[in-house]
């Protein structure tokens, strides 16, 4: 149970909550669920499946490059594999696991809410994400995978040079995926603004939530630009429009501008949740509050904001005017300031605390090391001549793998260990956890660090092989061996967590003595999260024992229990004053139906069956009508 119940009155209240919030059992329950925790778990396993696929693609690339002139993959297959690797890792793994899985599961718990603001919309965003991922992979399965790289430059991606359906799978799949993420980000913002437990004013909100707030706003404004660029691309490809066609007044560089106006904020969208996870794990294991809390909160928001003004540093080699490139170089350097603030805050918190290097904190230390390396090579790219020299070489590959794998995925892996006891009720094996960390850390370093050197030696990225006499063979062998070590580390994590699921020691509510509210409730949490809406007077709510005692008294007295229905309180945006009680919708068949209707529409758009696509769209509209036929208060 959520709270240790002492009196029969309290017991009766908890029983009533159990009945009201009871979930539908079995497969049907999972298909129709609107519980943010179940949706988070669905996101987790789906994105991990895509991580597996993206990982296999990575190993194929490294095996092809193990020696010169190898023929593991044909050049065409190699193009498809590295494109799918990038698309999978960015759109189908990192974003859905960080935002969909960690955000969904933890955010309502950290702010003391009983669900997300729009639970059915939440289910819809999961089903659309899953459908869009399957959609893109169908392309690979039928031998028509996208093969123009994850940033898909025209004219290579135009109908002339990529005549098969690969690019259409990419474009339509990512529009579909983007709708899912847009819906999710709006849901997160409203949840953070409105559903914080009364008393949790903005200055008492955990830094994890600030990171997710920043990410959500970045997604909300970045994704439409990607959608526009993809719609233009499909119009060009399918209906013969000329947005990117220089011969008829279009411009291929337009694609690059639109793509990177989305693509650079995207980089921060990928890494900000990792910052949020780091700010959750560090205080727990060093037993002190974060240094410079308000500065870190502001820095998280600033990174997302400034990220919108730097896109053309991806285009220094395209012949933009000097005035333009100099502006973007300067703007890119400015990002160092909020990033540096956070970096120093993490390091100072660890140094001035009493760190206990359990597995989750080890992953965060690894993250800090890789973020420094990737950040420093990033600053180098703000120097225009340096960028022009090294663009499209392995130096770039080294840089963004340190940032995206080292800095964004390491906290995700640390978070998997940190919150494993909360989600499963059991502890993972600490010894195996440490071994898997060191294996992965070593593997990452050995795989990606030599790429800096290869880049400086001039090895171009995206080439399916290299000649014997270039002097690149040794480093490539080293990198490939590193990638196998890295993969072994990841497999060991999976083994550890899978075994601990059955054999792990019982975790209890709060095995880490952690500061945030998810640890106030049982492990795993009940469907209603908290038997009583928690009292909050600081961002480290669990370190305020008087508040937790107040919760127990409130439950006995029936205050803030909301046991009359499927309800959660809403509060004012800044001060979190108690505002009103809202009914939350319970399970619904409509989100998954709508996702299916839209899948049908995108499939028909792919095949250029416009009328059938319209029929599916009309079906989607009917589903929406059914969705609204029952309002939450009528349930």
């Amino acid at each position: 149970m959520a709270t240790t119940t002492t009196t029969t009155a309290a017991r009766a209240r908890v029983d009533r909550l159990e009945r009201i919030w009871e979930e539908r059992p079995g497969l049907l329950g999972w298909l129709t669920t609107t519980d943010h925790k179940r949706i988070g778990i669905l996101y987790l396993f789906t994105s991990l499946a895509f991580f597996g696929a993206g990982g296999v693609e990575a190993l194929l690339i490294r095996t092809q490059l193990l020696g010169p002139d190898k023929t593991v993959l044909t050049p065409q297959q190699y193009d498809a594999v590295f494109t799918m690797h990038g698309v999978t890792m960015i759109f189908l793994f990192v974003i859905p696991i960080s935002i969909g899985a960690f955000g969904n599961y933890l955010l309502p718990l950290q702010i003391g809410a009983r669900d997300m603001a729009f639970p059915r919309l939440n289910a819809l965003s999961f089903w659309m994400f899953a459908a869009s991922g399957i959609f893109i992979y169908i392309g690979l399965a039928v031998g028509q995978a996208p093969s123009a790289g994850w940033f898909n430059y025209v004219p290579l991606a135009s109908k002339t040079y990529s005549p098969n359906l690969g690019i259409d799978f990419y474009a339509l799949g990512l529009i579909f995926n983007g709708i899912s993420s847009t819906v999710a980000s709006a849901n997160f913002i409203v949840t953070i603004f409105k559903l914080r437990a009364p008393g949790m004013s903005l200055n008492r909100m955990p830094l994890f939530c600030y990171a997710f707030l920043a990410v959500s706003f970045a997604l909300l404004f970045a994704l439409p630009v990607l959608s526009v660029s993809l719609i233009f691309l499909e119009l060009d490809r399918q209906l013969g429009f000329h947005f990117y066609d220089i011969a008829h007044g279009g411009d291929p560089l337009l694609w690059q501008h639109l793509f990177w106006i989305f693509g650079h904020p995207e980089v921060y969208i990928i890494i900000l949740p990792a910052f949020g996870i780091a700010t959750s794990i560090i205080p727990t294991f060093v037993r002190r509050r974060m240094v410079a809390f308000p500065l870190v909160a502001l820095a998280e928001l600033l990174v997302a904001f400034i990220g919108f003004g730097v896109w053309a540093h991806h285009m220094f080699a395209t012949g933009l005017s000097t005035a333009t490139t100099v502006y973007f170089a300067a703007a890119s350097l400015v990002i160092v300031i909020p990033s540096g603030i956070q970096l120093f805050a993490w390091i100072m918190t660890i140094v001035t605390g009493t760190p206990e290097f359990k597995t989750p904190l080890l992953w965060i230390v690894g993250f800090i090391v890789f973020f420094i390396i990737g950040g420093l090579s990033g600053i180098m790219f703000a120097a225009i001549p340096f960028d022009q020299q090294l663009t499209d070489t392995y130096f770039v590959v080294a840089h963004f793998h340190f940032v995206i794998f080292g800095a964004a995925v390491f906290p995700i892996l640390g978070g998997l260990h940190y919150w494993f006891p909360k989600v499963t009720g059991r502890m993972y094996h600490e010894g195996l956890g440490k071994v898997s960390f060191w294996l992965t850390f070593t593997g990452t370093m050995v795989t990606f660090f030599p790429m800096h050197i290869l880049g400086l030696l001039g090895m171009p990225r995206r080439n399916y092989t290299y000649p014997r006499d270039m002097g690149w063979t040794g480093f490539n062998v080293l990198e490939s061996i590193g990638s196998y070590v890295l993969a072994a580390g990841l497999v060991l994590i999976a083994v550890n967590l899978a075994m601990s699921l059955r054999r792990g020691a019982p975790a209890g509510n709060d095995p880490w003595k952690a500061p945030t509210l998810e640890w106030a409730t049982s492990s795993p949490p009940p469907p209603y999260n908290f038997a009583v809406i928690p009292a909050v007077s600081s961002p480290y709510a669990m370190w305020d024992p008087e508040d937790r005692e107040k919760d127990v008294r409130n439950l006995e007295a029936g205050v803030l229990v909301l046991e009359q229905g499927h309800e959660t309180p809403t509060s004012t945006v800044v001060d979190a004053e108690w505002d009103e009680v809202v009914e939350m919708p319970s399970d619904s068949p409509w989100p998954i139906s709508l996702a299916l209707a839209l899948s049908g529409m995108f499939a028909m758009l792919l095949l250029a069956h416009w009328v059938t696509a319209g029929v599916f769209l009309a079906f989607a509209a009917l589903v929406l009508l059914a969705w609204h036929s029952k309002e939450p208060q009528e349930a």
Partner: protein, 206 residues
Amino acid sequence: MSAVTRSTEASGGAEIRGVERNRLSQPNGWWGIVLLIATEATLLLAIVGTYYYLRFQATQWPPRGIAAPSVALPLVMMGVLLLTSVPMQLAAVATRAGRVGPTRALIVLAMLVQAGYLAVQIILLRNDLLDFSPAATAYGSIYFTMIVAHHAHVAIGLLLDVGILIRLIGGLTDYRAVGVRAIALYWHFVNLMAIIVVLTQLSPSL
């Protein structure tokens, strides 16, 4: 907290007025539509931005052989659409007062004008298509894409009108009252975008 108002249960004039009076901040549904508007506005502005990007790269805009757009009718139509913000806003005000009759009537009035606007625009679009093709020049591509994108937002607004009118048959609840306010906000956004899109569309002739 026995004094808590379960706002979504409010139905009928007096209860809704009470909920609206007691509410300290905007409800979830209002925030939802504001964020939808933010993301849709970004989408439309990216398309408008593309129009100017392509225009500033072109030596002649519109290209040789395509007449500059005629000004009078689109401007009049834009004015007519803008006027529909008035009944939509009045409908939102009426719901806050818990008055379902005027709410329905005002939405129907606005919807008729909006539907008429869309019908005339579709005819104008057909005429444009007879004059030049989106598949011949980048000018045609962006011209038609921008206009159709805006019309799609008008069409979605009409569907929202129909949807809320169906819900209002069963009377007014606070949930539906928030819905009417959200849809009114959406129309203000569509109308604001109409100014930007139409002026951009006509800019070669202005």
